[in-house]
Amino acid sequence: MATFNLKINKKKYSVEADPNMPVLWVLRDLLGLTGTKYGCGIAQCGACTVHLNGDAVRSCSLPVSAVGNGEVVTIEGLSENGDHPVQKAWEEVDVMQCGYCQAGQIMSAAALLDQNQNPTDEDIFNAMNGNICRCGTYLRVREAVKKAATIK
């Protein structure tokens, strides 16, 4: 066990945790931030995607000890009122079915658009192929990413 001072959603948190504990479980079990989802635990499904210093990362495979001074943003911190352009686009396109994978999809899309305002189809596939949706909402995910790119 060790103490970690984390910056999450622009707030400071101090947690006691096993240094190997993935950020996913720190968020969900220790801090009560359950918007980030557990899907596979091996960085294959993308449900746990958060931002670390602006990059989309799989929090299930990121040990808390690796975060250091990094800025973590989760779905709860993407915007105050759910009005980030990607969230707005997601609502507008009505992407979700069961909704479980969508936080991860949104976080992957937000990181993509932060770094690339006009992504091509290939850019979108590269960014979004790591996020599985068993409901099969992929076409709406693509549409929402493109719509978000037009929302300022």
Partner: protein, 733 residues
């Protein structure tokens, strides 16, 4: 206008106070406590709510809350079921809040998500709920205004008198509560629908995009422990002895023990399928700590039934396909005779592997069992069945057990089988503490309840005049045969034989999105394509000929489809897709299937790039009667097509000595974004017939339409799933 007797399901309209005896028994309700009312823009919460019936309450300011009775697994009933109530209540949808109803078998019927039946079976009772509440509000307004009832009309939550006076629902809600439930009510004409038929966004959309806690896995409670299970590594095994000394000394670990979730002597229900009744349980303070300690357990397993291996059962299934069944499931005419005389016989065998459900939210459940009662909450498609089993096992009466239906991270049939809910209750009872049971992805994927592995052999007899005169269909599968005896093309062919074989398996099996249809549609629709080709006929024309025969001069009487509606979707897809106007380099395949009371036809347009297929466009025509929510309906169909295509192409579970060879998404492939079709366009038959469901029917035809397009492109018939083994992976666009 349809006048309907309200005692259709009168218990739903009992006053809430009158139903208290069998209603919500325990004070705590996780969903209500942590999920505030939706923050619909501009909606002010009322000072007081008035319960009109089990489906709705009205605030003194006219805001309406509608309870969605059925479990929400992504099929979007939490939006579409309340839309039906709101329609007949005649309110403005923007003034409606939706809450998940609690499990209450006194007030509601069939609180179950399965078989795409929620809309079909809820249609009448939801309409009556809205219409009878509207009638009670009108009667209350008539009393208040001292005018005859028939001088009053309603519009968007406002009651209007012919004199021009108006009064809002909220103003008379308190009086409506004491109005007698009407004996009969008038239902709207479909042409007057204002909410039904309008594209309507998911009522939980805003909460989902904000990451609010909606799912079972998100449940947190003061003093709650995390429990995980270890089940045997192979089907046919159970724990023999455990060395838990290392695990017990690890950080945060509270206890390790074994449980038998369904003890001997308790009669299992159909929903109690579970290959691993004996489990090792490990309990601790957080998920990660328990995951780590799980790995430190040393468990010796013993074999209790013969382990199965994929090559072995596949051979056994193939052998069954060569064996006559003792009794045919259906026999028309004299199939043996026409096959003897046939000018040509076409034969093809199709096969598909076991599939895991892989709901993105793994199995989990919350339970807090005390001597006084039990609170359960989590993702379950069959809460009523779970409560019955929990009651029998933990020894509390059903009215002391509450089950909150959380939003579910996918269902697909997996959560029909609620062993995980039972396990949570058994563990909580033993610990005398609130517990959240969490399965890892590996626990989940290797637990069973799979879509069974299937094989089917089709044989067609063609006479010297180039007519299809006989069909023989022989199916074999693990624990069940896939073949439906009376589905199309039964009824369209004079000499018809269906035979079924099942191979008993200790690898557990269960319903998986569109059970059996998910395999049979592919086999049947690929085979009909091949027969059409052999006869030199256009594949759509050939299917329509068969349907014409079934309509005008059907063979047998048990044909379980409506040939006119079936033909309707084929004609619609032919028109919309411009069938026959092929573009250069484009290859097309068609497929049509009827299941779960809805008809779906699809055309896949495929181009080849570097010898690999790219799905450019999918055309989808549907007859599900009245479309309640076109936005949700399209989403279900798109999802069904992507899901169907993906599993047909990529996914399989295989076994070595009973042990699953796949356990997570690195070795079990699900379709990815770039592999989904570039475009899907849906078309609905507009016929005003009462609605049927769409959670499943979009899926079955997809694999066949793809395979038929591939044949057009390559001349190769795909028969053995997953097709990726035949090197037919999709190239990203």
């Amino acid at each position: 206008m349809e006048i309907i007797k309200t005692h259709y399901n009168r218990r739903s309209f009992l006053k809430v106070s009158a139903a208290a005896g069998g209603g919500i028994v325990l004070g705590f309700n996780w969903l209500m406590s942590c999920a505030p009312p939706q923050d619909k823009a501009g909606l002010t919460m009322p000072d007081e709510w008035f319960d009109i019936n089990a489906f709705l309450k009205i605030g003194n300011n006219g805001v309406v809350t509608i309870y969605s009775p059925n479990p929400e697994i992504g099929q979007n009933v939490k939006t579409s079921m309340p839309m039906i109530v709101a329609e007949e209540l005649d309110v403005d949808w923007s003034n409606v809040l939706v809450e998940q109803a609690p499990l209450n078998t006194v007030k509601y019927v069939r609180q179950l998500a399965g078989g795409s039946q929620s809309i079909r079976q809820g249609w009448k009772s939801l309409r009556i709920a809205g219409a009878s509440a509207r009638r009670m509000l009108i009667e209350a307004a008539a009393n208040k205004l001292q005018v005859p009832v028939d001088e009053l009309t309603t519009e968007k939550g406002v009651i209007k008198h012919s004199s021009g006076k108006t009064i809002g629902y909220g103003e008379v809600a308190s009086q409506a509560v004491s109005i007698a439930i009407p004996e009969e009510v008038a239902l709207k004409e479909p042409k007057d629908f204002k909410i039904i038929g309008k594209p309507t966004k998911n009522v939980d959309g805003k909460k989902v995009i904000k990451g609010e806690p909606l799912f079972g896995l998100d449940i947190q409670r003061e003093g709650m422990l995390i429990a995980m299970i270890v089940h045997a590594p192979a089907f046919g095994m159970k724990p023999k002895s455990i060395d838990d000394s290392a695990a017990r000394s690890m950080p945060g670990i509270k206890d390790v023990f074994t449980i038998t979730s369904l003890p001997e002597g308790i009669e299992p229900q159909w929903s109690d399928v579970n290959a691993f009744n004996e489990l090792v349980v490990i309990v601790g303070d957080n998920t990660w700590n328990v995951m780590q300690a799980k790995k430190a357990l040393s468990i010796e397993w013993e074999t209790v039934s013969a382990p199965m291996t994929t090559d072995g059962y596949n051979k056994a299934l193939s052998d069954l396909l060569e064996k006559k069944a003792d009794t045919p499931a259906r026999k028309d005419g004299n199939p043996d005779e026409v096959f003897k005389k046939a000018a040509r016989v076409i034969e093809r065998t199709y096969s598909a592997p076991f599939l895991a459900h892989n709901t993105m939210e793994p199995m989990n459940f919350f339970a807090n069992v005390t001597t006084d009662g039990a609170e359960l909450a989590g993702p379950i498609q069959t809460p009523e069945f779970l409560r019955k089993t929990v009651s029998a096992v933990i020894g509390l009466p059903e009215d002391k057990i509450s089950i909150d239906m959380t939003r579910q991270g996918g269902g697909f049939g997996r959560r029909l089988y609620g062993h995980f809910g039972l396990e949570a209750a058994v563990i909580s009872k033993r610990l005398n503490a609130p517990v959240k049971l969490v399965y890892t992805r590996e626990d989940d994927m290797t637990q069973g309840t799979y879509r069974p592995a299937y094989k089917v052999k089709y044989q067609a007899a063609i006479d010297k005049n180039n007519n299809l005169v006989g069909l023989k269909i022989r199916g074999a599968g693990m624990n069940e045969s896939p073949v439906f005896a009376n589905r199309f093309p039964a009824g369209a062919v004079d000499h018809y034989l269906v035979e079924n074989h099942a191979l008993n398996s200790n690898i557990s099996t269960g319903a998986w999105r569109a059970p059996r249809s998910n395999f049979m549609a592919i086999a049947e629709q690929c085979f009909l394509d091949e027969v059409a080709e052999a006869l030199g006929k256009d594949p759509i024309d050939f299917r329509l000929e068969l349907l014409e025969r079934a309509a005008t001069n059907p063979v047998g009487t048990n044909n379980d489809y409506d040939p006119a509606r079936y033909a309707g979707v084929l004609k619609l897809i032919r028109e919309k897709s411009g069938w026959g106007q092929k573009k250069d380099g484009q290859h097309r395949g068609v497929s049509a299937y009827f299941c779960h009371n809805s008809y779906v036809a699809q055309v896949f347009d495929v181009v080849m790039r570097n010898s690999k297929p790219v799905v450019q466009k999918v055309w989808c025509a549907v007859d599900c009667g009245i479309v309640v929510n076109p936005e949700g309906a399209k989403n279900q169909l798109e999802g069904g097509i992507v899901d169907g295509l993906g599993h047909t192409l990529y996914s399989e579970m295989t076994f070595t000595e009973g042990k699953p060879d796949q356990n997570n998404f690195h070795n079990y492939k699900l379709i990815r974004n770039s592999e989904a079709p570039a475009e899907i366009e849906c078309f609905f038959v507009d016929n005003g017939i009462d609605p049927t469901g769409l959670g499943e029917p979009g899926l079955p035809p997809a694999g066949a339409a793809f395979a038929n397009a591939l044949f057009a492109a390559t001349g190769k018939r795909l028969t053995s799933q997953p097709f990726i083994k035949e090197e037919m992976a999709i190239t990203p666009m």
